[in-house]
């Protein structure tokens, strides 16, 4: 298998996940509305998503993307480790590259840990019906808002959730910037623009996802 294919899978699945995060954060913004409006809107939105066939298909692509992103990142890491069996006694890599770019796998591990816990708390309860049963709201929709709100009123969960948005931001910054290069985009000014967009995107995602639980906590 060529070197390009593995990195190409990581880059394209990564870009798809970047798009998904925009949709996810937009939905999270519903939580900022006053409680009664927020509950109704959030629950009807999630019901619409669950019942839409197209969204179901996109959801499967999403699961596959996460799995492929992780599996191929592992394959790349294994090859990279084999290529560098002896480390330097002194290596000032911080003088020629960013810490993030040198530690994407390490940072990615924390994001994976977060995804597993996040899925166990939401996805497993709502979609698989595991754990405590989820009630319904006044309109008869599954009360996903209640699940979210109760978790976001647990300070340990809120802190854990928000803290792990730091590695997310770092990972997104380097990932977004590099994915285009991996996929063969080499327009000089275009790449400079993407580098700037990556900073803004990573900041919006990490601050956005990180601050909403706190706002809900103090609401």
């Amino acid at each position: 298998m060529d070197l390009f294919f593995r990195k190409g899978v990581i880059a394209s699945t990564g870009l798809f996940l970047c798009l998904f995060l925009i949709v996810h954060l937009s939905a999270n913004c519903i939580l900022l509305l006053p409680e009664d409006i927020s509950r109704e809107l959030y629950n009807s939105y999630s019901t619409t998503l669950r019942e839409n066939l197209l969204i179901k298909l996109v959801a499967y692509i999403l699961y596959l993307s996460i799995i492929l992103h992780v599996v191929y990142a592992l394959l790349v890491t294994i090859r990279n480790r084999k290529s560098t069996p002896i480390k330097y006694a002194v290596n000032h890599s911080n003088e020629n590259s960013s810490w993030t770019s040198q530690n994407m796998g390490f940072i990615g591990f924390f994001i994976l840990l977060f995804i597993v816990i996040h899925l166990a708390n939401f996805w497993a309860r709502i979609k698989l019906g595991m754990g405590e049963e989820v009630g319904t709201d006044a309109l008869g929709n599954l009360d996903v808002y209640e699940v979210t709100s109760s978790l976001f009123h647990n300070i340990y969960y809120v802190s854990f959730y928000s803290l792990l948005m730091i590695p997310l931001g770092l990972h997104l910054h380097h990932g977004l910037k590099s994915a285009f290069k991996t996929l063969g985009f080499y327009h000089k000014k275009g790449l400079q623009a993407i580098a700037k967009i990556a900073v803004v995107y990573a900041l919006i995602m990490s601050i956005g996802f990180g601050i909403i639980p706190f706002i809900v906590y103090f609401k």
């Binding site: 290596n91 000032h92 890599s93 590099s178 063969g184």
Partner: protein, 247 residues
């Protein structure tokens, strides 16, 4: 000027190797780093000790032969330079200078600071040339090449194959070297007829050698003596995709 060199000593590829510390006095701050090593070697000869083996040739920063890891950086503390163009004035009096060979599975140590970079030669053997006869140097002007293309090509043709990109890369990726060679030839009319086969063959050979994946840390373009841009790797990826689709 006095410094302490902590230098990797290894007798042969199968030897385990270890660091050895040498106190060196009588250095001139304007000496090049390689001259300082020469100075140390002269002392070792007088002491009847084995001299330190290191690669060098032109000592003008253009041949790509020299190259060692100095104090945690490929070619030393400065950006975009070769080891021979590094001077002792870049170091502080009395400090320890750690000198290591390039570390990469694809570049095994032959002796002390000398590594085997023939993996680069094998990549070149797989398309880093043109097979068309283009005449003598004076006939070069018969094939018009636009100024912007000529400039861009010259930027990548400047690659001296020193291996600093591989040495500094956390994955030992040879992507910058290979992309420089591919983009150089594929951008010129003389290289066009074989462009697709070239990019496929050279990248396939790069994968066969023990180089890792490029993860765009950007360290290579900082340490490259010729300042070859990392965007060349993106361009190589585009050429690779094009070759796969349209060959």
């Amino acid at each position: 000027m006095k410094v302490r060199f902590k230098i990797w000593r290894q007798d042969s590829p199968i030897d385990k190797g270890s660091f050895k510390v040498y106190e060196v006095d009588g250095l001139n701050p304007d000496m090049s780093f390689l001259e300082a090593l020469d100075h140390l070697n002269e002392k070792l000869v007088l002491r009847n000790e084995k001299v330190i083996a290191f690669d060098h040739d032109c000592r003008e920063g253009i041949c790509g032969q020299c190259g060692v890891f100095i104090n945690g950086r490929a070619h030393g503390p400065h950006e975009n330079t070769t080891t021979c163009q590094l001077h002792m004035r870049s170091f502080e009096e009395g400090k320890v200078i750690v000198v290591e060979p390039w570390r990469a599975k694809a570049f095994p140590v032959i002796k002390d600071l000398i590594v085997d970079r023939s993996a680069f030669d094998r990549i070149i053997e797989h398309g880093g040339y043109i097979s068309a006869k283009t005449g003598t140097a004076s006939e070069a002007n018969a094939i018009p090449v636009g100024k912007d293309i000529a400039e861009r090509v010259m930027d990548v043709a400047a690659c001296i194959g020193c291996g600093a990109c591989v040495a500094t890369c956390k994955n030992s990726s040879a992507a910058l070297f290979t992309s420089a060679k591919i983009n150089h030839l594929n951008s010129l009319p003389q290289g066009k007829p074989e462009e697709h086969q070239r990019v496929l063959d050279m990248t396939a050979q790069m994968a066969k050698e023990d180089f890792g994946h490029c993860t765009f840390t950007g360290a290579c373009e900082v340490e490259c003596p010729e300042g070859i841009s990392i965007n060349n790797i993106a361009e190589m990826n585009a050429r690779f995709l094009k070759a796969k689709l349209f060959r």
